[in-house]
Symmetry: C2
Subunit: 384 residues, 2 copies
């Protein structure tokens, strides 16, 4: 079998987990041939735990230049994702970036311009798009059977993190090291799914609370109000401070209501379009009739493995990716708009002023305080 030789840049929590999956043969068409990390302790870990033939580099660029990889998976801190993607694509190496696409859209826009001109594959780790529940939902919405969306409400608060989580790594939860908090680290999947399922909002008014539940620089509690092109409204609530949290997405359409919670869908389907019923019914308190359905999915949910399999299949045979790398900018646009709205204390329209965002971000980076790096790597097994 033909295999793609893959290097992983950044073997902290996520990168190490990906390496283990590949070494366990979970993605037969990808062969782990190298890893890179700027931290000697992580390379030492790789020397001890990975097979001898997995080469080790202290710099991602050296790994790309070495010629031992056809493709790279980038799992560094967020600021470096675009940098390594660009370097890889410009040096003839395919790139799969961890989420988020970057920290600010201007940086990601530059990356996307380069990716569009490149003949190499550029993918992004939106592994939640492999979840059968979201795929089914996407299929139902795309089919048009639901009519226009009227409202969305996503409470995604099951990202509980302790103070120890934030204390483990020097870059975490600082403006300069990570560039954001729960919106940038935990929520890129939901923000991507939000735009994938509902489209991009036009207006965002967000309330980001920094250091609310943890001793950190960035936000760990967010409530955002959204308005979409067609007038639909939405709410997005997230935090790393709630235990137990909730992951409940409620969507209202002209043809009924869908609730996505506990890995299943519930669909209250109306017997007629509500917009028509409202205008034609002669009674004041009547409602359209409802049928309660549990839409079936195919049960498949390959997560990271699915994204990596599709990445290899695209490189080898031109098949579909789970998510094109260039699509990463959309979810990032949402989180950037939420930050900007909260910083300016006003509603932000999309597209927003990317230079203004960068100035505001840099102001925070300039006063960012470097933390001691304890070099602790928690297992991310079971997280996203």
């Amino acid at each position: 079998m033909e295999q793609v030789r893959l290097g992983i840049i950044g073997i902290g929590g996520m990168g190490t987990e990906h390496a283990k999956g590949l070494l366990a043969g979970k993605v037969p068409e990808l062969k782990l041939t190298a890893v890179a990390d700027i931290r000697p302790a992580r390379l030492e870990y790789a020397r001890e735990h990975f097979p001898e033939e997995v080469q080790r580099f202290s710099d991602g660029r050296q790994l790309i230049d070495s010629g031992c990889c056809d493709a790279v998976l980038i799992a560094t801190p967020h600021y470096y994702h675009p940098e390594y993607v660009i370097y890889a694509l410009q040096h003839g190496v395919h790139a799969l970036s961890e989420k988020p696409a970057g920290v600010y859209t201007r940086q990601v826009r530059e990356m996307n311009e380069i990716a569009k001109k490149s003949d190499k594959v550029f993918a992004i780790m939106f592994n939640q798009r492999t979840n059968c529940v979201y795929r089914k939902l996407h299929e139902m919405i795309s089919s048009g059977e639901l009519g226009a969306m009227k409202r969305m409400n996503w409470i995604i608060t099951d990202w509980y993190r302790t103070q120890a989580y934030y204390d483990a790594a020097g870059w975490k939860a600082t403006w300069d090291g990570e560039g954001g908090g729960v919106l940038l680290n935990q929520c890129p999947h939901q923000l991507d799914l939000l735009q994938w399922l509902c489209g991009m909002p036009k207006k965002v008014r967000a309330f980001c609370h920094e250091a609310k539940w943890h001793d950190i620089e960035v936000e760990d509690d967010v409530t955002a109000y959204l308005e979409f092109e067609n007038g639909a409204t939405g709410v997005f609530v997230t935090t790393t401070g709630d235990a137990p949290g909730t992951n409940r997405l409620e969507l209202t359409f002209e043809m009924g209501k869908i609730i996505c919670e506990n890995d299943r869908l519930e669909f209250d389907r109306l017997n007629e379009n509500e917009r028509v019923f409202c205008k034609t019914c002669r009674e004041g308190f009547r409602k359209p009739e409802v049928e309660h359905l549990l839409p079936e999915t195919d049960g498949m949910n390959e997560q990271h493995i699915g994204v990596m399999k599709a990445f290899a299949a695209r490189i080898l045979r031109g098949e579909s990716l789970v998510a094109e790398g260039t699509e990463g900018i959309r979810g990032l646009t949402l989180s950037n708009a939420m930050y900007l709205s909260s910083w300016l204390n006003e509603t932000v329209e999309i597209p927003f002023d990317e230079d203004l965002f960068l100035r505001e971000l840099n102001r925070r980076r300039n006063t960012s305080v470097k933390k001691e790096d304890k070099g602790i790597v928690f297992s991310t097994e079971g997280t996203y």
Copy 2:
């Protein structure tokens, strides 16, 4: 048995329903002795359907002055609630007002001042406070066992109304006739329960959409963001345009999460306070342990009948009311603050400028367009 002689002022939808309940003997200590309505057609209805001994008046003041009632139940359009309450109390007659307490807090503040000086009973129809589920929740929160509240999220969108509902009465859903929409007509219960359970927020940022789903003047779609004194945040979403709607209240506390939906409570109780766990746990991804409980209630839910029974018992024996009339100002403060925030397009702090609110309201009343009154009275059975 001693009975309180009760008059009902306003026999539209709600007033007629109350009259039927009393005539059916559901509140043994209240005896319906009179009704008043400015609409001849409603008095004609009363003549045809109510016993001969129920006197009829074309003016609520005449009813109060007549001496045939010890107490009145006021079920007129909202603007007139304070006016009749004041007239009743000042003329030695006990008053039970339908919700809301009024349309603007300045008006209600005047009413409350008079009520505080009166020795007559003043109650308000917050019948949802009789619901065993909310009573149990109130008891759990008040006991202190849950610790501080961290977050609340109430999606209360099961108020579906057709265009025919709004077209039925001339005063409905106009700024001049009703003074507001879903916040003022449908939501006073939830806004009262919100403050009863969670306390009053300090800041409100609301997005009220007028005539979004119906051909009306006032709002039929609202999303509001709240901030409480202790830093807790909240979301309140309501509409009369969603079918089927949702009534789901989620509250997060230091000791766990409570969901109130489908007339029952679910409580995920932590084995320790999250705030302590967060700071002391040495692992990054661990969570406090959770026990899933279904708190039991006493099953009692007397609704309007319960409020009326307590009203009579207070008058006859000084017992507890379901809700003191003067408490009506709190929920109204919430809806007024939501309107003001939306009108000004900014965050409003509570207490807000009541004169500014009234000026803004009057500006809308001045351009309000009077609708034809079709005189249709829909049965409100099964609504709140």
